[in-house]
């Protein structure tokens, strides 16, 4: 039985639904807070981080999904842009930070962890492909 509709697995379809709901919910939350609580620092912070999230998404779509640049270079550019957006959002929210390093170091660690996870998933893909190639060779 084919569990995929339009080439998307049910699990991924549900993930998309949840993420879409979170995005929609965030917008509704801001509107409700403004109506009932008025515009305050909390709402301001919420809006700023929502805009930052949109910019992260745009950067990902334009840079990471583009195959014109090599992946390490795209990742570096993506990291720089997202870091700049994060610092700008923190400044606008008036967060107190002693130095940029307190943000930069965790940023680098997160990117390294994600890249390493991606690398291991590519290795797993290669292993699966090699199993199929071996099976095809035996047939």
């Amino acid at each position: 039985m084919n569990n995929r509709k339009n080439g998307i697995s049910p699990c991924l379809s549900w993930v998309r639904t949840v993420l879409g709901s979170i995005g929609t919910g965030a917008i509704v939350t801001v509107i409700i807070c403004c109506i009932f609580g008025g515009y305050n620092d909390t709402v301001k912070g919420f809006i700023i981080w929502m805009i930052a999230s949109i910019l992260y998404g745009i950067a990902t779509r334009l840079i990471m999904f583009s195959c014109k640049l090599s992946l390490p270079l795209s990742t570096a550019i993506h990291a720089v842009i997202c870091f700049a957006v994060t610092i700008a959002a923190m400044k606008l929210c008036n967060y107190e930070t002693t130095s940029l390093l307190t943000v930069l170091v965790p940023f680098i660690i997160v990117y390294l962890i994600i890249y390493a996870a991606c690398y291991f998933s590519w290795k797993a893909e290669a292993k699966r492909a090699n199993e199929r190639l071996s099976r095809n060779a035996k047939e």
């Binding site: 509709k5 195959c67 090599s70 992946l71 390490p72 991606c118 893909e125 095809n136």
Partner: protein, 145 residues
């Protein structure tokens, strides 16, 4: 997949596909039925002389600058055709494009290895070259093997 064959006299063969037409499996099947028949031999040039080679002997095809090179297990040839022209004539079940400038015969791919850059390296049977499978083309390569 259920296969039902009905023997009847018709002016031309009729193919009816029932099911989820948006699924990749059915879309692939429709594409294969619609695809033009692949050629068995390709005209190539070697030392200025024209000849024909059996497509099944082709290991990979690479384009560089303004020429296209065709490699078998023991020889290499050039072709006047462009890569996309050659690609349209080859059997899609055996040949797959793995980068902007390379087409490989899947039957000659021994193994692949993931690179840190997100690309893959393809090791060939009976040829020393290592081909790069671009991450953009890897999905199609994976589906074809």
């Amino acid at each position: 997949m259920k296969l039902i064959l009905e023997d009847m006299e018709l002016a031309e063969p009729e193919v009816i596909i029932r099911g989820d037409l948006s699924s990749p499996e059915v879309a692939g099947l429709i594409a294969r039925i619609k695809a033009p028949a692949a050629v068995r031999r390709l005209e190539v040039a070697s030392d200025g002389d024209s000849c024909f080679i059996d497509c099944r002997d082709i290991v990979f095809i690479a384009s560089a600058a303004d020429k296209v090179e065709i490699y078998t297990e023991s020889e290499s040839f050039t072709s006047r055709m462009r890569l996309y022209e050659i690609s349209s004539r080859l059997d899609r079940s055996s040949f797959v494009q793995i980068s902007k400038s390379t087409i490989v015969n899947i039957d000659f791919v021994k193994s692949i290895q993931a690179e840190f850059s997100g690309n893959y390296i393809a090791f060939l049977k009976n040829r020393p070259e290592k081909l790069i499978i671009s991450r953009r083309y890897f999905k199609e390569f994976k589906e074809r093997i």
